[in-house]
C-alpha cells in the first residue's frame, strides 16, 4: 500500500492532466456556487418579483410597474425618506468631522495615552447594534434613564425622549454617532499613517504651523479616505435597521412612525406584511438612490481633488 500510493498519484498525473489542472477551479468553486445561488440569482430574481403582486412565498399576478407606482404614491415612503435624510444630516457630516479630528489627535506624537484613547473610542464599534439600541433606550428611558435623572435633579420635569416625536430622531442620531464614529476614525488613522512624514518635515522647515499642516497637507491627502468614509456612512444610513428596531421596540419606527427610516420601511413591508413584490420594488428604488448618491459623492470628491 505504502509504495502503491505515490505510483497511483503519478499515474493519475500522467493519465489525467485535466484532473490536476482542475484542482484550482475546484478550490475556488465554493465562492462562485454560493454567489450565483445566493447573490446573483436573487438580485436578478428580485427585478422579476418586483413586477408581481407577490404576497408570501407563492407568486401572484404579473402587474408590471404597479408596485413602483403604488410606492411613489405612498406617504409613508416619503416619510421614511425624509426621516432618513434627517438622520443622514445629523450623523454623517458630524461623524466625518469628529472622526478626522480624533484621528489627527490620536496620531499626533504630542498627545499622551494615544492607544488608550483609541481603544475607548473604538469600543462601541464592537458592541452589537441591538445592544446599542437597548443601552440608549435605557439611557433615555423616561423613568430609569440617566439623562432624566440629571433633569430631575436640576429641577426640570422628566422628558419622554423615546416617545416624543420631537426627540426620537435626535436620540437615534446620538446612538449612531456613539456606535459608528470610532469605525470611521480607525479608517482615517490608517489613512493618516500612510502620509509620508517627510511632507510635514518639509512644511515645518518652510515655517508652517499645525493648523496650516492640517489644511494644506492632511486634508488634501486624506480626501480619498474621507470620501470612502462618506460613501460607506451614506450606504449605512439608508440601510439603517437594527438600532432603530431595538430603540423603538420594533420595525414601525415608534410613535407615529417618527423614526421610520428606509431600512425599517423595507423590512416591515417585506417581512411583517409579507408583501414580497412591493418590498422588492422598495429595495430597488433604495438601491438606485444609494448608487446615485455614491456616484455623486465620487464625482464631487474627484473634482475637489483636482
Amino acid at each position: 500500500m505504502v509504495t502503491a500510493a505515490p505510483a497511483s498519484t503519478a499515474a493519475a498525473r500522467s493519465k489525467k492532466p485535466w484532473l490536476r489542472n482542475s484542482y484550482p477551479y475546484l478550490f475556488i468553486s465554493p465562492f462562485y456556487l454560493t454567489f450565483v445561488l445566493f447573490g446573483l440569482v436573487p438580485i436578478i430574481f428580485s427585478i422579476v418579483v418586483s413586477t408581481f403582486d407577490w404576497r408570501g412565498v407563492r407568486p401572484g399576478d404579473f402587474i408590471g410597474l404597479q408596485n413602483y407606482i403604488t410606492l411613489f404614491k405612498e406617504p409613508n415612503f416619503y416619510k421614511a425618506l425624509s426621516n432618513t435624510v434627517y438622520i443622514w444630516l445629523g450623523t454623517v457630516p458630524v461623524m466625518i468631522l469628529l472622526a478626522l479630528v480624533f484621528a489627527v489627535l490620536l496620531n499626533s506624537k504630542f498627545v499622551r495615552w494615544r492607544s488608550l484613547f483609541r481603544t475607548v473610542y473604538f469600543l462601541p464599534v464592537v458592541t452589537s447594534l441591538i445592544i446599542t439600541g437597548l443601552i440608549f433606550g435605557m439611557l433615555f428611558s423616561t423613568s430609569y434613564g440617566l439623562v432624566n435623572n440629571f433633569l430631575v435633579r436640576l429641577g426640570f420635569a422628566p422628558i419622554q425622549w423615546l416617545s416624543d416625536p420631537r426627540f426620537m430622531k435626535l436620540i437615534l442620531v446620538i446612538a449612531i454617532l456613539w456606535r459608528w464614529t470610532g469605525n470611521d476614525m480607525v479608517i482615517m488613522l490608517a489613512g493618516l499613517q500612510s502620509i509620508p512624514p517627510e511632507m510635514y518635515e518639509a512644511a515645518r522647515v518652510d515655517g508652517a504651523n499645525e493648523v496650516q499642516n492640517f489644511w494644506y497637507i492632511t486634508i488634501p491627502l486624506m480626501l480619498p479616505v474621507i470620501l470612502f468614509d462618506l460613501i460607506i456612512s451614506t450606504i449605512g444610513t439608508f440601510n439603517l435597521f437594527e438600532e432603530p428596531y431595538a430603540l423603538f421596540g420594533g420595525p414601525d419606527g415608534g410613535v407615529r412612525g417618527s423614526a421610520l427610516v428606509t431600512g425599517l420601511y423595507l423590512y416591515s413591508n417585506a417581512f411583517v406584511n409579507a408583501r414580497f413584490g412591493f418590498g422588492s420594488s422598495i429595495a430597488w428604488v433604495l438601491a438606485v438612490i444609494i448608487f446615485s448618491l455614491s456616484m455623486l459623492q465620487l464625482k464631487l470628491g474627484s473634482r475637489k481633488a483636482q
Binding site: 475556488i28 445566493f38 428580485s46 462601541p124 441591538i130 445592544i131 428611558s141 434613564g145 469605525n183 435597521f241
Partner: protein, 294 residues
C-alpha cells in the same frame, strides 16, 4: 502631566510668539482635557448598562433612579441564569458561531491560497470578479433569498445563516493577502515529494497561515455573534433563537417588567466580544481597514 513638558526641540519658528512654550502647553492641556471628557462620554453608556444590570429589582422604583449603586447585587444575573430560554439562546449562538467560523475559515483560506499560489487560466479575472461582488448592494437580494430559502425548506434552520457566506469575498481577499508571503520553495518541495494539491494546502499551508486564520476567525465570530437581521428573518421557533434575538424579544415584552434582565443579558453577551477585542485589538483594526485602503 509630565508628558506635556516634552515639547519638541523645533527649529526657531518664523514668527516668535511671546511665550511659545506656555501657549503650546495650554493648548495641549486643553486637547487632553477634551479627549478625556469625550472618552468618558464614550464610556458612559457602558457604565449605565453595567449599573442597570447590577441594580436589584427593588431599587428600580426609586425616583430619581440612583446614579450610583447603593448595594450592587448579582440577583439579575442569578435570575437570568435560571431562565432556560437565555441559556438556550447562548448555546445556540455558540453553536452557530462554531459552524460559521469553521466553514468560513476553511473555504476562504482554500480559495485565498489558490488565488495567491496556484497558477491557472483566468486567475486575475476571476479574482477581480470576487472583489467586484463586494460592491453589489446585498439588500436587493434579501426577499428573493428568503423565497429561495423557503423553497429549499431552510427556513427556521441555521443553514441560511451559514451556507451563503461560507466562501465570502472579504475572507478570500484577506487570506490571499497573507498567503502571498508563503515561500514558493516550500510548496515546490512538497510537490516533489508527491503531495497532492489539497495535501499541500492541508499539511503545509494551514500550519503556517495560522495568524491570518485566527484573525479571520475573530471577524467571523464577531459578525455572527452580533448579527440580528439574519436570525430575525430566517428563524421562527423560540428554541432556535440567538442571544441578540432573545434580547430583542424580551425587551419588547411590554407587559412584563424585565429591563433589569435585558441589561444583564446585554452585559453577558458583550463580555466575550470585549475580551476578544481587548486581547486581539491589533487584528480587529487591521481587518477593518483592509478593505478601505488599496
Amino acid at each position: 502631566m509630565t508628558a506635556l513638558s516634552n515639547t519638541p526641540s523645533s527649529p526657531v519658528p518664523a514668527r516668535l510668539p511671546l511665550f511659545p512654550h506656555l501657549k503650546r502647553r495650554v493648548n495641549l492641556t486643553m486637547v487632553m482635557l477634551a479627549l478625556i471628557v469625550i472618552g468618558f462620554a464614550f464610556l458612559l453608556p457602558f457604565y449605565w448598562m453595567i449599573i442597570s444590570s447590577l441594580r436589584p429589582l427593588s431599587e428600580w422604583y426609586a425616583r430619581p433612579i440612583p446614579l450610583f449603586l447603593n448595594n450592587p447585587s448579582p440577583s439579575n444575573y442569578v435570575q437570568l441564569f435560571q431562565r432556560a430560554d437565555f441559556a438556550r439562546g447562548a448555546l445556540n449562538t455558540v453553536i452557530l458561531c462554531f459552524f460559521t467560523v469553521t466553514t468560513q475559515v476553511f473555504f476562504c483560506s482554500l480559495a485565498g491560497y489558490t488565488f495567491a499560489k496556484l497558477r491557472f487560466k483566468g486567475r486575475e479575472g476571476l479574482f477581480i470578479f470576487i472583489l467586484g461582488t463586494m460592491m453589489i448592494p446585498s439588500g436587493v437580494g434579501m426577499i428573493p433569498n428568503f423565497i429561495i430559502m423557503s423553497r429549499l425548506h431552510w427556513i427556521d434552520t441555521y443553514l441560511p445563516l451559514i451556507i451563503p457566506g461560507i466562501a465570502n469575498a472579504f475572507g478570500i481577499f484577506w487570506m490571499r493577502q497573507y498567503c502571498q508571503s508563503i515561500p514558493e520553495e516550500l510548496l515546490d518541495a512538497a510537490r516533489i515529494d508527491g503531495c497532492d494539491e489539497f495535501g499541500i494546502f492541508w499539511r503545509i499551508v494551514i500550519p503556517i497561515i495560522q495568524p491570518a486564520l485566527a484573525s479571520l476567525a475573530i471577524f467571523t465570530f464577531l459578525g455572527t455573534w452580533n448579527d440580528f437581521t439574519g436570525p430575525l428573518v430566517f428563524l421562527r421557533s423560540p428554541d432556535k433563537f440567538t442571544i441578540q434575538l432573545w434580547l430583542s424579544v424580551v425587551s419588547r415584552q411590554a407587559n412584563l417588567f424585565q429591563p433589569h434582565l435585558v441589561m444583564a443579558g446585554s452585559v453577558l453577551s458583550s463580555i466575550p466580544i470585549i475580551i476578544l477585542f481587548a486581547s486581539l485589538q491589533r487584528y480587529f483594526m487591521a481587518g477593518l481597514t483592509a478593505g478601505s485602503l488599496k
